[in-house]
């Protein structure tokens, strides 16, 4: 059996769901990561320990299990929640861990001389954060951050275990009915490509606008 035009429409709808979930998770995840990253550099050891524990648990556990945890085990405390809400919560927690690590890498890449300059100028901490750290981290961390954004679109596929219907599950349903594996996979891959590529291009645009003078590879 071959896939039909109405199958294509079903896949397109599923793609929109995947995209919306990914965008929501990226937005919330970035906010959470911005709150988390300073914790990694906190002067008190407990703060750093909490950060490392969070990253370890969220990155180390398969997202499948995280999804089951949030949807079922926590639902016994919160009551019934929609699978899509649970899915966004899971993705947010997961992406926040990945993004926080990316930001942390960005901060670590700032050359020492710049720290010393900022300190010798006597700038207050908030000012250092705003004028020195943030612009630099934004530049260093943007390519790996784009990596994570692109991954977010594909990451929602594992949520099908808690009844979230999205592009991977939709393509699976059509494949199991029609056995038209390659064609359906190709269409799904194309849809993913369009979404991820769009995110990537937007990001590259941002990157070239932020390119600072004096650093190697500004023409990359």
């Amino acid at each position: 059996m071959e896939m039909t035009a109405s199958d294509l429409w079903v896949l397109a709808q599923a793609a929109v769901i995947s995209l919306l979930m990914a965008l929501a998770a990226i937005a919330f995840g970035t906010l959470l990561a911005v709150a988390l990253t300073p914790l990694a550099f906190a002067p008190w050891a407990l703060g750093r320990a909490i950060y490392r524990l969070y990253i370890f648990v969220v990155r180390g556990t398969p997202v499948l299990l995280l999804a089951l945890l949030v949807f079922y085990a926590l639902a016994s405390f919160w009551g019934r929640i929609s699978p899509y809400a649970a899915g966004i919560v899971v993705l947010t927690l997961y992406l926040a861990a990945l993004i926080a690590e990316v930001f942390r890498g960005g901060v670590l890449a700032i050359p020492r001389p710049l720290w010393d300059c900022a300190k010798s100028l006597g700038l207050p901490r908030l000012s250092i954060l705003r004028r020195v750290v943030s612009p630099l981290v934004a530049r260093y961390a943007l390519p790996p951050y784009l990596n994570v954004c692109v991954m977010a679109v594909k990451a929602s596929s594992v949520l099908s275990i808690i009844s979230v219907w999205e592009l991977t599950l939709a393509s699976r349903e059509i494949i199991e009915r029609t056995l038209d594996v390659y064609r359906v996979l190709a269409v799904a891959a194309l849809l993913y490509f369009i979404m991820c590529f769009a995110i990537d291009r937007l990001g590259r645009n941002l990157e070239s606008r932020l390119a600072a003078r004096g650093f190697a590879g500004e023409r990359l």
């Binding site: 490392r52 990253i55 370890f56 648990v57 990155r59 180390g60 556990t61 398969p62 997202v63 499948l64 299990l65 089951l68 990945l98 690590e101 990316v102 942390r104 890498g105 670590l108 890449a109 050359p111 530049r139 260093y140 961390a141 943007l142 390519p143 790996p144 784009l146 990596n147 692109v150 991954m151 594909k154 596929s157 991977t168 594996v181 390659y182 996979l185 190709a186 799904a188 891959a189 993913y192 490509f193 979404m195 991820c196 590529f197 990537d200 004096g214 650093f215 190697a216 590879g217 500004e218 990359l220």
Partner: protein, 217 residues
């Protein structure tokens, strides 16, 4: 708690076997992906405009499509041209192809942090491009990219679970088989999660050791 002990006794050996497969494929794939990513990035830097565009197209294609696609293509498609490789190698190749693309992007991010002065110095010393890359760029890149590379290693480890679609009996497949057999809702996945946590812990320890080793240069 008792049910977990019974579980471990009955299925522990199967899980250990599956964990060995996961670790083996992940380590081999990561090392090869690092190499492949470095080669891709080198070509992008020094290969001229056409090479750079080809690498870019490759990276875009593999980053933006689900990794299940190359896995399926290699495992089911290659036999049609006579290459009947074992499932783990097919899966490993697909993982290398994809993660090489991601690592190339990670290198691209780290490259900007290297001061231009370094490259001018390398050129003035008359170093050949590959030598300059190997001795000047790559070591500094690796240093700047350690957290991101550690991240990628963890992601690759998790991606090995996709190999369950092509018959590789790794941790997630083992958990799925046991869930099917026994109707247990969480236990097999919990056990698999313990193994994954141990492996991720090991990766994190290695990452931090590497970082502290180069921190105060």
């Amino acid at each position: 708690m008792g049910q977990y002990r019974a579980w471990l006794e009955a299925y522990g050996a199967a899980f250990l076997d599956a964990a060995a497969w996961t670790l083996g494929v992940a380590v081999a794939a990561f090392v090869c992906a690092l190499l492949w990513g470095a080669i891709l990035f080198f070509l992008r830097l020094n290969g001229g405009p056409w090479a750079a565009r080809t690498v870019d197209a490759y990276v875009q294609l593999l980053r933006n499509t689900p990794v299940l696609l190359p896995i399926y293509l290699i495992y089911f498609g290659f036999p049609l041209v006579g290459l009947l490789w074992p499932a783990s190698i097919c899966g490993g190749l697909a993982l290398v192809a994809q993660n090489g693309a991601y690592i190339c992007e990670i290198f691209r991010g780290g490259y900007k942090a290297i001061d231009r002065v370094q490259h001018d110095a390398a050129k003035s010393l008359g170093l050949m491009p590959w030598t300059a890359f190997r001795k000047v760029t790559l070591p500094q890149l690796l240093v700047y990219c350690i957290p991101a590379l550690g991240n990628q290693a963890v992601l690759l480890l998790k991606d090995t679970s996709l190999l369950s679609a092509i018959t590789v009996v790794e941790l997630t497949m083992q958990a799925k088989v046991l869930t099917e057999r026994t109707g247990a809702a969480y236990a097999p996945f919990l056990v698999a999660a313990v193994f994954y946590l141990f492996m991720v812990w090991a990766i994190e320890v290695l990452t931090r050791l590497a970082q502290r080793g180069v921190r105060w240069r």
